[in-house]
Symmetry: C2
Subunit: 421 residues, 2 copies
């Protein structure tokens, strides 16, 4: 490896911190919210514009662009061996409904910055390197299923199922993709799924650990698993002033009992368990009407498969025991196994961080990422950079320009390293 060590180092020198920051600000205008956040839902006009902007930025460098059938976009810098499997790096451009300026888009812009830096350094890699935008990473923000593009790419979810997903207004992914394609004239079509030499995803941590530990680079050791449930409760609407309590079948009362019992189950003195009720909707939602219907979601995550099984398997029973005369249906709509990263990619990240003299640490990912799916396709790893107070999925999400650039420098070096193997 010593014989390639100089070339990757040169790429890092060409990472341009102010250009990288400016591009984050340019992207943040697409779906900007009054409170300084971003609402750029998967395949909406702003998400399409974000893709188009990347394609435009790549043109002066001669980077080529291609779109696959689920809307994943690839910006490619050629290598010396035209048929060699590419090294991929990227993340997503879509956000939560009240999202921030860095989640997802950082991984895309860091990959693009790395391509530019490698190009500016005049480095010729053996393999092509591609910056990837994976479609609809944020589940439940517009379409119900998250990591839509990467899971279809990896063959974990069928393309037909993904294309049939509907948003709240009844628009399917297939329909939405028509406008995405028209927003990208001249971009080549590419079949779904292809051989990948390695995948690296850069991302803000979305948690408070790197900041608290004073480290710039997180070498991600794995992603915790997640089980997601939707609980539907049916009782009976009734008049708030007249219906005796002994005759009520109040769906919200049942939901509150269930949530109270679930909180006791998922309580963890070590604060490793992540248990969140992110949605709760009642109907008819009028002050003088006993709610006859309630729906809530559970997002439960843990790094260990046996804990995911032990606690998650109790959800249905606890809901049934607390239904208070209502009917309850518990649907587990997503179950993602924990993942461990090791070997090629994390090792390359560690080497680059050390050589660049950046403070670094091993860290586990609390959030799910597209890398969960690419992990099953190719050697995979992730680079984390600190985010302010660990706050993410929030309009106040923030990160330091210097940290973002440091992550891009590590990424550039790692990509050259991997693309020459």
């Amino acid at each position: 490896m010593d014989d390639t060590s100089k070339a990757p180092g040169r790429a890092a020198e060409h990472v341009d911190e102010s250009r990288l920051w400016q591009r984050h600000m340019d992207m943040a205008r697409l779906g900007a919210t009054p409170k300084g956040g971003v609402r750029r839902l998967a395949l909406d006009d702003n998400d399409n514009k974000a893709r188009a902007l990347l394609v435009e930025w790549g043109k002066p460098r001669g980077f080529t662009a291609a779109l696959d059938p689920i809307g994943n976009l690839f910006i490619r810098r050629s290598g010396s061996e035209a048929t060699a499997a590419p090294v991929l790096s990227g993340s997503h451009t879509d956000t939560q409904p009240s999202g921030g300026r860095f989640d997802g888009i950082y991984g895309v812009l860091a990959a693009f910055e790395a391509l530019e830096a490698i190009d500016a350094a005049g480095i010729v890699t053996r393999r092509p390197i591609e910056a990837a935008v994976w479609t609809c990473e944020e589940g439940g923000a517009r379409f119900p299923t998250g990591t839509m593009g990467s899971s279809a790419f990896a063959g974990h979810r069928s393309l037909d199922l993904a294309l049939a997903d509907e948003d709240g207004a009844g628009t399917t992914v297939a329909e939405a993709l028509k406008s995405t394609r028209s927003a990208l004239p001249g971009v080549a079509e590419r079949p779904l799924g292809f051989e990948v030499a390695a995948f690296v995803e850069a991302h803000i941590e979305q948690g408070p650990i790197l900041e608290a530990e004073g480290k710039t680079i997180g070498i991600v050791t794995g992603i915790q698993g997640a089980r997601r449930f939707r609980i539907e409760i049916d009782g009976e609407d009734g008049h708030a002033g007249t219906m005796p309590h002994r005759k009520r079948r109040d769906a919200l009362k049942a939901a509150v009992s269930m949530i109270h019992a679930l909180e006791a189950l998922f309580d963890d003195p070590n604060d490793v368990v992540r248990f969140t009720i992110g949605r709760l909707v009642i109907k008819p939602d009028a002050p003088a009407v006993i709610p006859g219907h309630a729906m809530f979601t559970i997002d439960f995550r843990h790094p260990e498969e046996k804990v995911l099984a032990r606690l998650g398997d109790q959800v249905a029973g606890i809901c049934a025991a607390n239904r208070r005369g209502c009917e309850v249906k518990v649907v587990e709509y997503s179950n993602t196994k924990p993942i461990l990263f090791s070997g090629l990619v994390p090792d390359a990240i560690g080497r680059a961080a050390r050589r660049q003299g950046l403070s670094h640490m091993a860290i586990h990912s609390g959030a799910g990422h597209d890398a969960m799916h690419l992990f099953h396709v190719a050697p995979t790893g992730m680079i984390f950079v600190p985010c302010w107070r660990g706050i993410s999925h929030n309009e106040t999400e923030d990160a330091k320009s210097a940290d973002l650039a440091a992550g891009a420098r590590v990424l550039a070096e790692v990509l050259v390293d991997l693309a020459n193997r």
Copy 2:
């Protein structure tokens, strides 16, 4: 009174059960829901059409119509003394978002049926009798404030405040009333508030008591008081997978703790207290985001003022004690004192029910009604008829045609009685 007893009896004989039922079905088409209920929100197109229909039905009988500045509609049958204060009877045409076919509209149609029956019997009363439609009885269904028309009529809430109320789309009552007026061409304008000789409101019980006791007529003895609160909770949005629980400020968690504690406070082994959370909305309402905001409403009712004070005054303290790191704001947006009906009107109802040989009982109203406000303007009372299983504010709300007609017969007799005093 014996000298007038024959005339009122004759009016009851002209109540037409099938006509009354058909008119309920005609009205139920205006805003019909797929599940057989009605969604006719205050001053919407269907509510305007309901008013227009009443005006049309009155024309062949020579009944005149007038609209006041808050949209209350009066259909008048003249008396022998043109300047005598009228006897009023009526209720409302608006419904809850998922309402039924009888709540409110029964009181309007029973009053109209009584006018027709009195007219068909050729009875000349001293005072005019008017069927009244009070605007927007159902608070929170479209506009925030309930009994809007009757409270403005009685001077309990200023007309300006009522006209400035906004629906969820930002349309004010003043704006909505423009379309109501255009839907009623030729209907006279009338100033807000005037002298009323007496007021009678017929209504389905909206509770299970008459049905359980096997009685046809409820002579209403009073209306329980109600206190309504809106609780706003502000925490912080966060990522469901990464944010440690010890750092979370989860607004839904806080809401669940508050509701759990409030349920314990309002628990009543005698089942007299009515405590309902009818609305609960969280934001941003996405499965993978810790909700940073929650809002819920409390509807608390009781027949005794001292219980309303003792329990209601503890709401703010319990919410503060269970805020779990969030900020909480408790607003009491409505406070209605309990009311007792006695004397003139309930006595007349009792006499009519006895003379017609109808089973009857004294009953307290769990629901609020426009009669709460008219009570402060004139001698007032209410007639209840049974409703199926006590279910109301629900699309399955139902009532028996024979019971509806029995209530209208009692009402016709009571109105003649009161209009000759």
